[in-house]
Point group: C2
Chain length 245, copies 2
């Protein structure tokens, strides 16, 4: 199904965090990012989830950064000892990292206003790789950053989302991909034949079948995606005619 | 945090499906698998999500199968043209794949009983790589399979879950990893110092801090994991004393 919108920018996501892999926390950022990028015409092609492990982070950043236009990371940029994302993204690019004046100034102003101490732990959140551009964080100030084609965002969903909003205007989108979907309350095995013929007849559209079970009945959501609205409507009409009951 | 329970079997998951990457569907199987494996003492160390793309599937299966004790895949084993998982898992192991008699017999019995036709599309679900062991599917019959260390399961959550149940007794678990957690309603920057000292003093435990924002207040769940219950309780008590208010 991939590769149909080849002129669009591509993206990958890297989720960093033991809490997802232990089943303690259910990741919410992947689903959010996927929806936002799809709207924007950026083609999310891969997601990886790795543990709070330095070498795993470095390897994933290098692999994804080399393969896709953009990489978005989530998690591991807070003040605690297990927040090791910034250091290892820097390591992936062999770039020095230290407390940077611009990030420190943001934190100083924020903690002064809130009457909290800018202690050593919090100062770790001002560690930014040389040459990286800061990403605004209107929720809790500690910034994300972009280095090369890697965008480093927080893991807390509310902060991930505002950082993505800050970043989005700076990213070039692609041709909008339109989609149509229809729910067919028939077993996928009945839908497969006619759908396969349509997929052959409309090679420029991507067609997917996503089965479900609801109230003990089998059905499937059929989704067609493409950039030619006329062809999309035509193919969808044919499908609907085939399954009128 | 990883690598603390090094004697336990390791695992990776491969989620196959455009619908997750387009934001249309929110994956539910990752969270379920993570919880089940953690209980079982199997250490889930990586998850990848790839599109319905033959080469992406082959590359991911090969990479993960070489690196971990077990690999669990979800999605792409139904009857429609976009169900390409079985063929590409076979390709990853350079193993022939065809409609196998045992799988065909299961489907024949099922569709005869339900009065549905075992058409060409449905017969695709009997395509099983040579030498693979079938995995039971009490919900809709079409089986999953295990080839080498890769377990190929359905994407529909209800079916993924029963297949995993069928499979689980065959997998060797590791030492149970115990965990304790406490919710501290303080900003992570206040928790980080004492927690970092504890992490240094108890190197055999893994300690994670998972921040949240609730009703406009910052807090964090602190999770400690390890196999020595005494040490775990001791460290957790010290943390609680430090943050008694």
């Amino acid at each position: 199904m991939q590769g149909k919108h080849m002129s669009n920018p591509t993206a990958a996501m890297l989720v960093i965090g033991d809490e997802i892999l232990s089943g303690r926390t259910r990741d919410a950022n992947m689903h959010h990012l996927a929806g936002v990028l799809t709207e924007r015409g950026i083609d999310l092609q891969e997601v990886r989830v790795v543990a709070d492990d330095p070498d795993a982070i470095v390897a994933a950043v290098q692999a994804l950064s080399g393969a896709y236009t953009h990489v978005f990371t989530s998690g591991g940029i807070g003040p605690t000892h297990d927040d090791i994302t910034a250091d290892n993204v820097a390591r992936a690019f062999e770039t020095p990292i230290s407390v940077r004046d611009d990030a420190r100034a943001l934190l100083e102003a924020h903690y002064e206003k809130s009457g909290q101490e800018l202690n050593e732990a919090r100062l770790r959140m001002a560690r930014i790789p040389d040459g990286a551009a800061l990403i605004d964080n209107p929720v809790s100030t500690a910034p994300g950053f972009t280095i090369e084609n890697v965008h480093v965002l927080a893991g807390v969903p509310a902060i991930f989302q505002v950082m993505l909003q800050s970043l989005l205007p700076k990213l070039t989108g692609g041709a909008p991909v339109m989609s149509r979907s229809v729910e067919i309350f028939r077993p996928e095995g009945d839908i497969a034949g006619p759908l396969g013929e349509l997929a052959n007849a409309y090679p420029e559209l991507s067609m997917g079948s996503y089965p479900f079970i609801r109230d003990g009945r089998f059905g499937a959501n059929i989704v067609m995606r493409g950039s030619d609205e006329g062809r999309l409507s035509e193919a969808m009409s044919k499908l609907e005619v085939a399954f009128q009951s």
